[in-house]
Amino acid sequence: MDLNQDLGHPFVVRDFTGPLDLLLHLIRSHEMDIADIPIVPLVEQYQKYLDMLEELNLTIASEYLHMLAILLSIKARMLLPRTEHEIADPETDPRRDLIAQLLDYEKVKAAADDLHERFSLWSGVLGRPEPEGEAVLGEVSLYDLVDAFHKVLKSRKEREGPAFLPLPRPQVKDLMAHILAFLPRTGKPFPLLDILLQLKNGMEVITAFLATLELCRLQCVRLKQKGPGAEISLVYLKEIPTDLTFVEYL
Protein backbone atom coordinates (compact mmCIF):
# COMPACT_ATOMS: atom_id res chain seq x y z
CA MET A 1 0.00 0.00 0.00
CA ASP A 2 1.12 3.53 -0.58
CA LEU A 3 1.86 5.11 2.74
CA ASN A 4 2.66 8.47 1.25
CA GLN A 5 -0.81 9.15 -0.04
CA ASP A 6 -2.81 11.73 1.76
CA LEU A 7 -5.42 9.86 3.71
CA GLY A 8 -7.35 12.93 4.69
CA HIS A 9 -7.91 12.17 8.35
CA PRO A 10 -5.68 9.21 8.78
CA PHE A 11 -5.67 9.29 12.56
CA VAL A 12 -8.30 8.86 15.11
CA VAL A 13 -7.58 11.06 18.06
CA ARG A 14 -7.58 8.56 20.81
CA ASP A 15 -6.00 8.26 24.13
CA PHE A 16 -2.62 6.65 23.62
CA THR A 17 -0.93 5.63 26.83
CA GLY A 18 2.49 6.53 25.47
CA PRO A 19 4.65 6.72 22.35
CA LEU A 20 4.98 2.94 22.16
CA ASP A 21 1.21 2.62 22.16
CA LEU A 22 1.04 5.14 19.32
CA LEU A 23 3.80 3.39 17.35
CA LEU A 24 2.08 0.03 17.69
CA HIS A 25 -1.16 1.58 16.51
CA LEU A 26 0.58 3.07 13.45
CA ILE A 27 2.34 -0.19 12.65
CA ARG A 28 -0.88 -2.20 12.96
CA SER A 29 -3.14 0.22 11.13
CA HIS A 30 -0.70 0.49 8.23
CA GLU A 31 -0.08 -3.23 8.24
CA MET A 32 3.64 -2.86 8.64
CA ASP A 33 5.80 -5.81 9.62
CA ILE A 34 6.89 -5.29 13.19
CA ALA A 35 10.02 -7.40 12.73
CA ASP A 36 11.04 -5.34 9.69
CA ILE A 37 9.66 -1.88 10.31
CA PRO A 38 9.81 0.43 7.27
CA ILE A 39 11.32 3.26 9.24
CA VAL A 40 10.84 6.12 6.75
CA PRO A 41 7.04 5.89 6.44
CA LEU A 42 6.75 5.16 10.15
CA VAL A 43 8.62 8.33 11.10
CA GLU A 44 6.47 10.24 8.64
CA GLN A 45 3.22 8.96 10.13
CA TYR A 46 4.48 9.53 13.64
CA GLN A 47 5.44 13.10 12.86
CA LYS A 48 2.10 13.70 11.18
CA TYR A 49 0.36 12.59 14.32
CA LEU A 50 2.37 14.94 16.51
CA ASP A 51 1.71 17.79 14.06
CA MET A 52 -1.97 17.10 14.29
CA LEU A 53 -1.85 17.16 18.09
CA GLU A 54 -0.15 20.51 17.87
CA GLU A 55 -2.84 21.81 15.52
CA LEU A 56 -5.45 20.71 18.01
CA ASN A 57 -3.56 22.67 20.64
CA LEU A 58 -2.86 19.58 22.67
CA THR A 59 0.25 19.46 24.76
CA ILE A 60 2.68 16.87 23.55
CA ALA A 61 4.27 14.99 26.41
CA SER A 62 8.05 15.03 26.34
CA GLU A 63 8.28 11.25 25.96
CA TYR A 64 6.67 11.56 22.51
CA LEU A 65 9.40 13.98 21.47
CA HIS A 66 12.01 11.69 22.95
CA MET A 67 10.66 8.86 20.81
CA LEU A 68 10.69 11.13 17.74
CA ALA A 69 14.38 11.79 18.38
CA ILE A 70 15.04 8.05 18.64
CA LEU A 71 13.14 7.43 15.38
CA LEU A 72 15.04 10.14 13.57
CA SER A 73 18.35 8.82 14.78
CA ILE A 74 17.43 5.32 13.58
CA LYS A 75 16.36 6.78 10.23
CA ALA A 76 19.69 8.58 9.93
CA ARG A 77 21.65 5.44 10.75
CA MET A 78 19.59 3.44 8.24
CA LEU A 79 20.69 5.86 5.51
CA LEU A 80 24.35 5.16 6.14
CA PRO A 81 25.81 2.61 3.76
CA ARG A 82 26.28 -0.77 5.40
CA THR A 83 28.56 -3.56 4.32
CA GLU A 84 27.03 -6.85 3.28
CA HIS A 85 28.49 -8.40 6.35
CA GLU A 86 26.69 -5.83 8.51
CA ILE A 87 23.40 -6.35 6.71
CA ALA A 88 23.62 -10.07 7.38
CA ASP A 89 24.21 -9.48 11.08
CA PRO A 90 20.97 -8.64 12.87
CA GLU A 91 22.98 -7.30 15.82
CA THR A 92 23.94 -4.22 13.84
CA ASP A 93 20.42 -3.32 12.74
CA PRO A 94 19.74 0.19 14.09
CA ARG A 95 16.09 -0.78 14.62
CA ARG A 96 16.97 -3.70 16.86
CA ASP A 97 16.38 -2.05 20.27
CA LEU A 98 13.18 -0.37 19.17
CA ILE A 99 11.75 -3.60 17.80
CA ALA A 100 12.60 -5.44 21.01
CA GLN A 101 10.94 -2.68 23.02
CA LEU A 102 7.82 -2.76 20.85
CA LEU A 103 7.53 -6.54 21.11
CA ASP A 104 7.87 -6.32 24.89
CA TYR A 105 5.30 -3.59 25.05
CA GLU A 106 2.91 -5.66 22.99
CA LYS A 107 3.11 -8.37 25.63
CA VAL A 108 2.39 -5.80 28.33
CA LYS A 109 -0.68 -4.65 26.44
CA ALA A 110 -1.96 -8.19 26.08
CA ALA A 111 -1.44 -8.81 29.80
CA ALA A 112 -3.12 -5.49 30.62
CA ASP A 113 -6.14 -6.39 28.49
CA ASP A 114 -6.37 -9.69 30.26
CA LEU A 115 -6.28 -7.98 33.67
CA HIS A 116 -8.92 -5.54 32.50
CA GLU A 117 -11.19 -8.42 31.63
CA ARG A 118 -10.64 -10.07 35.00
CA PHE A 119 -11.27 -6.75 36.70
CA SER A 120 -14.60 -6.18 34.97
CA LEU A 121 -15.59 -9.69 35.91
CA TRP A 122 -14.61 -9.57 39.57
CA SER A 123 -14.70 -5.97 40.72
CA GLY A 124 -18.48 -6.03 40.99
CA VAL A 125 -18.29 -8.91 43.41
CA LEU A 126 -18.50 -8.07 47.09
CA GLY A 127 -17.13 -10.04 50.00
CA ARG A 128 -17.93 -9.58 53.65
CA PRO A 129 -16.76 -6.14 54.77
CA GLU A 130 -13.65 -5.91 56.91
CA PRO A 131 -14.43 -5.07 60.54
CA GLU A 132 -14.02 -1.49 61.69
CA GLY A 133 -11.61 -2.65 64.41
CA GLU A 134 -9.02 -0.50 66.06
CA ALA A 135 -9.03 2.79 64.26
CA VAL A 136 -5.59 3.94 63.32
CA LEU A 137 -4.72 7.47 64.29
CA GLY A 138 -4.96 9.27 60.99
CA GLU A 139 -4.06 12.66 59.65
CA VAL A 140 -6.25 15.64 60.49
CA SER A 141 -7.42 17.98 57.79
CA LEU A 142 -7.62 21.72 58.23
CA TYR A 143 -11.41 21.48 58.06
CA ASP A 144 -11.54 19.05 60.97
CA LEU A 145 -9.52 21.52 62.97
CA VAL A 146 -11.77 24.43 62.00
CA ASP A 147 -14.77 22.30 62.92
CA ALA A 148 -13.39 21.51 66.35
CA PHE A 149 -12.79 25.16 67.08
CA HIS A 150 -16.18 26.08 65.74
CA LYS A 151 -17.80 23.64 68.14
CA VAL A 152 -15.97 25.18 71.04
CA LEU A 153 -16.81 28.70 70.00
CA LYS A 154 -20.48 27.76 69.88
CA SER A 155 -20.46 26.14 73.30
CA ARG A 156 -18.58 29.12 74.69
CA LYS A 157 -21.14 31.56 73.35
CA GLU A 158 -23.84 29.79 75.28
CA ARG A 159 -21.93 29.87 78.52
CA GLU A 160 -20.43 33.31 78.27
CA GLY A 161 -22.18 35.64 80.65
CA PRO A 162 -22.40 39.36 80.15
CA ALA A 163 -18.85 40.66 79.90
CA PHE A 164 -18.17 44.32 80.12
CA LEU A 165 -14.61 44.76 81.13
CA PRO A 166 -12.14 44.90 78.29
CA LEU A 167 -10.13 41.75 78.60
CA PRO A 168 -6.43 41.62 78.07
CA ARG A 169 -5.83 40.58 74.51
CA PRO A 170 -4.45 37.01 74.51
CA GLN A 171 -1.17 36.54 72.71
CA VAL A 172 -0.51 33.65 70.31
CA LYS A 173 2.91 33.23 71.90
CA ASP A 174 1.37 32.80 75.37
CA LEU A 175 -1.28 30.40 74.16
CA MET A 176 1.36 28.29 72.44
CA ALA A 177 3.23 27.89 75.72
CA HIS A 178 -0.08 27.31 77.51
CA ILE A 179 -1.11 24.52 75.11
CA LEU A 180 2.31 22.92 75.10
CA ALA A 181 2.35 22.86 78.91
CA PHE A 182 -0.68 20.56 78.88
CA LEU A 183 0.90 17.89 76.75
CA PRO A 184 2.55 14.89 78.38
CA ARG A 185 6.22 14.74 77.43
CA THR A 186 5.90 10.99 76.91
CA GLY A 187 4.28 11.64 73.54
CA LYS A 188 0.92 10.38 74.74
CA PRO A 189 -1.92 12.07 72.76
CA PHE A 190 -3.81 14.70 74.78
CA PRO A 191 -7.36 15.72 73.75
CA LEU A 192 -7.44 19.20 72.27
CA LEU A 193 -10.94 19.81 73.58
CA ASP A 194 -9.78 19.41 77.21
CA ILE A 195 -7.41 22.33 76.71
CA LEU A 196 -9.88 24.52 74.86
CA LEU A 197 -12.70 24.11 77.35
CA GLN A 198 -10.54 25.63 80.06
CA LEU A 199 -10.06 28.85 78.16
CA LYS A 200 -11.76 31.97 79.42
CA ASN A 201 -13.39 33.48 76.33
CA GLY A 202 -13.87 33.35 72.59
CA MET A 203 -10.89 35.55 71.98
CA GLU A 204 -8.68 33.05 73.73
CA VAL A 205 -10.16 30.20 71.73
CA ILE A 206 -9.46 32.01 68.47
CA THR A 207 -5.95 32.75 69.62
CA ALA A 208 -5.57 29.12 70.65
CA PHE A 209 -6.57 28.13 67.11
CA LEU A 210 -3.78 30.28 65.71
CA ALA A 211 -1.42 29.00 68.39
CA THR A 212 -2.21 25.39 67.43
CA LEU A 213 -1.55 26.11 63.76
CA GLU A 214 1.70 27.83 64.72
CA LEU A 215 2.77 24.87 66.88
CA CYS A 216 2.07 22.55 63.95
CA ARG A 217 4.04 24.75 61.61
CA LEU A 218 7.01 24.74 63.96
CA GLN A 219 6.56 20.97 64.34
CA CYS A 220 6.32 21.29 68.12
CA VAL A 221 3.13 19.20 68.12
CA ARG A 222 1.33 16.76 65.87
CA LEU A 223 -2.44 16.48 65.47
CA LYS A 224 -4.11 13.10 65.53
CA GLN A 225 -7.64 11.92 65.01
CA LYS A 226 -9.14 8.43 65.08
CA GLY A 227 -11.44 9.00 62.18
CA PRO A 228 -13.64 11.57 60.49
CA GLY A 229 -15.43 13.68 63.09
CA ALA A 230 -13.62 12.01 65.99
CA GLU A 231 -11.83 13.77 68.81
CA ILE A 232 -8.62 15.56 67.85
CA SER A 233 -5.59 14.97 70.05
CA LEU A 234 -2.26 16.70 70.32
CA VAL A 235 1.05 14.92 70.59
CA TYR A 236 4.10 16.65 72.05
CA LEU A 237 7.09 16.66 69.73
CA LYS A 238 9.47 19.37 71.00
CA GLU A 239 9.72 22.68 72.86
CA ILE A 240 9.08 25.99 71.12
CA PRO A 241 12.39 27.24 69.71
CA THR A 242 13.61 30.13 71.89
CA ASP A 243 14.97 32.23 69.07
CA LEU A 244 11.59 32.86 67.42
CA THR A 245 10.22 36.26 66.60
CA PHE A 246 6.44 36.23 66.75
CA VAL A 247 4.06 38.04 64.52
CA GLU A 248 0.86 38.73 66.39
CA TYR A 249 -2.18 38.27 64.21
CA LEU A 250 -4.78 39.81 66.48
Binding site: G18, Q101, V108, A111, D114, H116, R128
Partner: protein, 176 residues
Amino acid sequence: MTKEELAGIVESLLLVSTQPLTGAQVKSAVEGADDALIDEAFEELQRRFQVHSGILLQRAAAGWRLVTAPQNEPPLSRYLKMTSRQRLSRAAFEVLAIVAYHQPITLPEISAVRGANSANAVNTLLEKKLVRIVGRKKVVGKPFLFGTSREFLLHFGLNSLEDLPRVEEMDAFKTE
Protein backbone atom coordinates in the same frame (compact mmCIF):
# COMPACT_ATOMS: atom_id res chain seq x y z
CA MET B 1 -16.62 -36.90 60.54
CA THR B 2 -18.23 -36.94 57.16
CA LYS B 3 -17.55 -34.55 54.34
CA GLU B 4 -21.08 -33.17 54.67
CA GLU B 5 -20.69 -32.47 58.41
CA LEU B 6 -17.41 -30.67 57.84
CA ALA B 7 -18.93 -28.70 54.96
CA GLY B 8 -21.58 -27.45 57.39
CA ILE B 9 -18.94 -26.30 59.86
CA VAL B 10 -16.92 -24.64 57.11
CA GLU B 11 -20.05 -22.84 55.95
CA SER B 12 -20.50 -21.38 59.44
CA LEU B 13 -16.84 -20.37 59.57
CA LEU B 14 -17.19 -18.65 56.21
CA LEU B 15 -20.19 -16.68 57.42
CA VAL B 16 -18.25 -15.13 60.30
CA SER B 17 -14.86 -14.72 58.66
CA THR B 18 -14.14 -11.38 57.08
CA GLN B 19 -10.87 -12.55 55.58
CA PRO B 20 -10.48 -15.39 53.09
CA LEU B 21 -10.69 -18.62 55.11
CA THR B 22 -7.74 -20.96 54.68
CA GLY B 23 -7.57 -24.72 55.01
CA ALA B 24 -5.09 -24.33 57.87
CA GLN B 25 -7.59 -22.19 59.78
CA VAL B 26 -10.27 -24.83 59.35
CA LYS B 27 -7.84 -27.49 60.52
CA SER B 28 -6.99 -25.65 63.73
CA ALA B 29 -10.67 -24.97 64.45
CA VAL B 30 -12.05 -28.43 63.75
CA GLU B 31 -10.71 -31.41 65.65
CA GLY B 32 -9.96 -34.43 63.54
CA ALA B 33 -10.22 -32.78 60.14
CA ASP B 34 -7.42 -33.68 57.76
CA ASP B 35 -6.32 -31.78 54.66
CA ALA B 36 -7.96 -34.10 52.17
CA LEU B 37 -11.30 -33.92 53.96
CA ILE B 38 -11.09 -30.14 54.21
CA ASP B 39 -10.45 -29.86 50.47
CA GLU B 40 -13.42 -32.10 49.81
CA ALA B 41 -15.59 -30.04 52.13
CA PHE B 42 -14.70 -26.83 50.32
CA GLU B 43 -15.45 -28.42 46.97
CA GLU B 44 -18.74 -29.79 48.31
CA LEU B 45 -19.66 -26.28 49.49
CA GLN B 46 -18.70 -24.76 46.20
CA ARG B 47 -21.06 -27.16 44.47
CA ARG B 48 -23.83 -26.22 46.87
CA PHE B 49 -23.35 -22.53 46.31
CA GLN B 50 -23.37 -23.01 42.57
CA VAL B 51 -27.07 -23.85 42.70
CA HIS B 52 -27.63 -20.77 44.84
CA SER B 53 -28.31 -17.61 42.90
CA GLY B 54 -26.95 -14.89 45.15
CA ILE B 55 -23.79 -16.17 46.84
CA LEU B 56 -20.65 -17.75 45.44
CA LEU B 57 -17.78 -19.47 47.15
CA GLN B 58 -14.73 -17.85 45.62
CA ARG B 59 -11.17 -19.07 45.83
CA ALA B 60 -9.10 -15.96 46.39
CA ALA B 61 -5.83 -14.88 47.99
CA ALA B 62 -4.89 -18.35 49.22
CA GLY B 63 -8.23 -18.94 50.91
CA TRP B 64 -11.96 -19.13 50.34
CA ARG B 65 -14.55 -16.45 50.82
CA LEU B 66 -18.24 -15.91 50.30
CA VAL B 67 -18.97 -13.25 47.71
CA THR B 68 -22.02 -11.85 46.02
CA ALA B 69 -22.85 -13.09 42.53
CA PRO B 70 -21.48 -10.74 39.84
CA GLN B 71 -24.85 -10.35 38.13
CA ASN B 72 -26.31 -8.84 41.32
CA GLU B 73 -24.05 -5.84 41.30
CA PRO B 74 -26.60 -3.19 40.20
CA PRO B 75 -29.13 -3.69 43.02
CA LEU B 76 -26.29 -4.12 45.54
CA SER B 77 -24.62 -0.86 44.65
CA ARG B 78 -27.96 0.91 44.91
CA TYR B 79 -28.64 -0.68 48.28
CA LEU B 80 -25.20 0.20 49.60
CA LYS B 81 -25.39 3.63 47.98
CA MET B 82 -22.04 3.03 46.37
CA THR B 83 -20.74 5.64 44.03
CA SER B 84 -19.82 4.47 40.58
CA ARG B 85 -17.68 1.41 40.32
CA GLN B 86 -13.94 1.72 40.58
CA ARG B 87 -12.34 2.64 37.32
CA LEU B 88 -8.77 2.29 36.20
CA SER B 89 -7.13 3.93 33.21
CA ARG B 90 -5.52 1.92 30.44
CA ALA B 91 -2.16 3.20 31.64
CA ALA B 92 -2.94 1.88 35.13
CA PHE B 93 -3.74 -1.56 33.74
CA GLU B 94 -0.47 -1.57 31.81
CA VAL B 95 1.50 -0.67 34.93
CA LEU B 96 -0.40 -3.25 36.94
CA ALA B 97 0.41 -5.91 34.34
CA ILE B 98 4.11 -5.03 34.44
CA VAL B 99 4.17 -5.08 38.26
CA ALA B 100 2.17 -8.31 38.46
CA TYR B 101 4.51 -10.19 36.15
CA HIS B 102 7.81 -8.63 37.15
CA GLN B 103 7.63 -7.79 40.82
CA PRO B 104 9.53 -6.48 42.61
CA ILE B 105 10.15 -3.68 40.17
CA THR B 106 11.09 0.01 40.36
CA LEU B 107 9.32 2.97 38.81
CA PRO B 108 12.13 3.69 36.28
CA GLU B 109 11.99 0.06 35.14
CA ILE B 110 8.21 0.27 34.70
CA SER B 111 8.52 3.52 32.77
CA ALA B 112 11.24 2.05 30.53
CA VAL B 113 9.05 -0.87 29.46
CA ARG B 114 6.09 1.40 28.75
CA GLY B 115 8.21 4.12 27.14
CA ALA B 116 6.23 6.63 29.17
CA ASN B 117 6.38 8.18 32.60
CA SER B 118 4.34 5.97 34.91
CA ALA B 119 4.48 7.89 38.20
CA ASN B 120 0.83 8.93 38.11
CA ALA B 121 -0.41 5.45 37.32
CA VAL B 122 1.72 3.95 40.10
CA ASN B 123 0.35 6.51 42.58
CA THR B 124 -3.22 5.68 41.59
CA LEU B 125 -2.54 1.99 42.09
CA LEU B 126 -0.91 2.68 45.47
CA GLU B 127 -3.94 4.72 46.52
CA LYS B 128 -6.28 1.95 45.48
CA LYS B 129 -4.03 -0.46 47.39
CA LEU B 130 -3.62 -2.74 44.37
CA VAL B 131 0.12 -2.16 44.45
CA ARG B 132 2.32 -1.75 47.51
CA ILE B 133 5.89 -0.83 48.28
CA VAL B 134 7.77 -4.02 49.05
CA GLY B 135 11.22 -2.59 49.67
CA ARG B 136 13.99 -0.56 48.14
CA LYS B 137 16.39 -1.61 45.44
CA LYS B 138 20.00 -1.61 46.55
CA VAL B 139 21.23 0.64 43.75
CA VAL B 140 22.10 4.33 43.64
CA GLY B 141 19.16 6.41 44.84
CA LYS B 142 17.54 3.40 46.55
CA PRO B 143 14.34 3.49 44.47
CA PHE B 144 11.20 1.88 45.88
CA LEU B 145 10.36 -1.61 44.72
CA PHE B 146 6.72 -2.23 43.93
CA GLY B 147 4.72 -5.44 44.11
CA THR B 148 1.06 -6.41 44.00
CA SER B 149 -1.03 -6.59 47.17
CA ARG B 150 -3.52 -9.05 48.61
CA GLU B 151 -6.27 -6.66 47.50
CA PHE B 152 -5.02 -7.14 43.96
CA LEU B 153 -5.65 -10.89 44.23
CA LEU B 154 -9.11 -10.27 45.74
CA HIS B 155 -10.16 -7.68 43.18
CA PHE B 156 -9.01 -9.78 40.27
CA GLY B 157 -10.40 -13.07 41.56
CA LEU B 158 -6.98 -14.70 41.82
CA ASN B 159 -5.96 -17.33 44.31
CA SER B 160 -2.28 -16.59 43.88
CA LEU B 161 0.01 -14.96 41.34
CA GLU B 162 0.45 -18.37 39.76
CA ASP B 163 -3.15 -18.06 38.53
CA LEU B 164 -2.16 -15.27 36.14
CA PRO B 165 -2.13 -16.48 32.56
CA ARG B 166 1.34 -17.33 31.35
CA VAL B 167 2.90 -14.81 29.04
CA GLU B 168 6.00 -15.03 26.97
CA GLU B 169 8.91 -13.64 28.88
CA MET B 170 9.82 -10.09 27.96
CA ASP B 171 13.20 -9.38 26.43
CA ALA B 172 13.91 -6.67 28.95
CA PHE B 173 13.68 -9.15 31.84
CA LYS B 174 15.37 -12.16 30.38
CA THR B 175 18.11 -13.29 32.67
CA GLU B 176 21.40 -13.70 30.97
